[in-house]
């Protein structure tokens, strides 16, 4: 099996007071090892549910999630997660925050090695010199950088990100895209990124999956044919612009507004 992540016919509904609310309907997504999959779709279409299913935090009503040729039945240590909220622990320093997953995954790892690993990552994302600060002393963008370090400190096979840059201003967000690109070049991992930002999906993704409105199914898949070492300027090239137009159209269809003027 070549795919690291295989989502096969996943259907899921939430039980609410007014009956079941279907969020995912026969969803199929495959991500080959080392690839970056961006998932876009209208608000409330079940994208966050998808992250929890891949992480094994929930079980789908129907269908299967496979990681590395094994069916996901619960949480696994080969997964890293990052959210829109950096969820750093205020009582720990940045360094201690980044180390946290190692305390769970590799309890026997010497402290010196843990710290060296965390410091290495912090330096890569430009947080050298901030390792002994508290999260409250850092800006929103810096906190999100630390959160990314924590998500990959234990060298997970899969990094799952749920709108990690959604709360940042436009320029900080672009900075973090580049940080993400550089991290991937240095530390290969397979990535699933949930986002609302089409430019983000094209800049970072190898494939972009467009989900339809609720209940979500795979509406379109776009292969991003840009080179791996992308710069922000590439987003202004005609090739990228065509992809963005295509995605925008697909989102419009997903929102059920096909007939509107462009």
């Amino acid at each position: 099996m070549d795919n690291l992540i295989d989502i096969k016919g996943v259907t899921h509904a939430y039980r609410t007071k007014s009956g079941p609310l279907p969020v995912l309907d026969d969803l199929n997504i495959s991500v080959p090892e080392g690839e970056f999959a961006a998932v876009v779709g209208p608000s409330g279409c079940g994208k966050s549910t998808l992250t929890r299913l891949i992480a094994g935090l929930m079980k789908p009503d129907r269908g299967e999630v496979w990681l590395h040729g094994e069916r996901v039945t619960g949480p696994r240590r080969t997964v890293g997660m990052a959210f829109q909220n950096p969820v750093l622990l205020e009582w720990r320093t940045i360094l201690q925050n980044v180390i946290l997953p190692l305390e769970i995954v590799a309890p026997g790892m010497p402290r010196r090695d843990r710290e060296a690993r965390a410091l290495h990552l912090l330096e890569m994302v430009g947080l050298k010199g901030f390792e002994h600060k508290r999260p409250s002393e850092l800006s929103g963008g810096m906190r999100q950088r630390a959160s990314l370090c924590r998500a990959i400190v234990h060298k997970p096979d899969v990094l799952i990100m749920d709108e990690p840059f959604g709360a940042l201003d436009a320029f900080t967000r672009e900075d973090l895209w580049q940080t993400m690109r550089d991290l991937r070049a240095a530390e290969p991992f397979t990535c699933v990124l949930i986002t609302h930002d089409l430019r983000e999906s094209v800049f970072l993704g190898d494939q972009v999956f467009v989900l339809s409105g609720r209940p979500a199914r795979t509406q379109a898949v776009l292969d991003v044919t840009l080179p791996a070492d992308r710069t922000l300027d590439i987003l202004f090239e005609p090739e990228a612009q065509d992809m963005l137009h295509y995605l925008r159209d697909q989102i419009r269809i997903a929102q059920g507004r096909d007939g509107e003027t462009h």
Partner: protein, 254 residues
Amino acid sequence: MDMMRKIAVPIAAVLIFLCLWEALVWVNQWPNYKMASPSDLPPAFWKFRHLFLEMGWQTLWRTVLGLCIAVVVGTGIGVLMGFSRIARDALYPLLVGFNAIPKATLVPVIALLFVGQHDFNTVLMAFLISFFPIAVSVGIGLSTLEPEYRDILRSLGASRMTIFWKIALPKTLPEFFGALKVSVTLAFIGTNLVEIVSPHGRGLGALFKSGETNGDYPLMFAVLIALAALGILLYYAVLVLERIFAGWAERPSG
């Protein structure tokens, strides 16, 4: 300079308060049996200095012991309520109802239940009156933990215990200390309640009672001041603990 101000301002405020008090008594020409003035207090303290030390210690250790039990039991109940919806639904009405009972009414009940067990009764009251805020705040702190905090460890396969020790418990510490500041004063009131309502010759409450019996009004006022001082001492002790264990929650000002 900052340190100077931190110490000098409160001391100046206390001195001004004592001066106003002295002036009030002096202007009205109140006799001692109506209201003692601050200048009457040092002689009273000196005269009964041994009793103050002995009784003060009695009050102090029983309050602290009661509070310690309240911390253990209150945290236990809070953890139970924080993690189990059923426990929360079951315990809330009981706790709120119990908390609503004026604790003075419990003094005779306890005195009859455990006849002659003065130390035990006093510690029990200090505990009963002070565990409620701790239980509620720990319960609320745990039950309002954002799911993402749990997920960052749960997605790695961490056990519930690990999540509790590494995330849930430290995250509730600021709420816990907020409640402890309320509880420490309550425990102190509980101790004195038993010492005054059900006097047995121990504690500052008993000393107050004896001042009343003997018509020694300066002594009564001196006891009140001693109680206030002890209350401040306990409160600041909690503050120091908070600094040590939850100082991270304090944002840099400015």
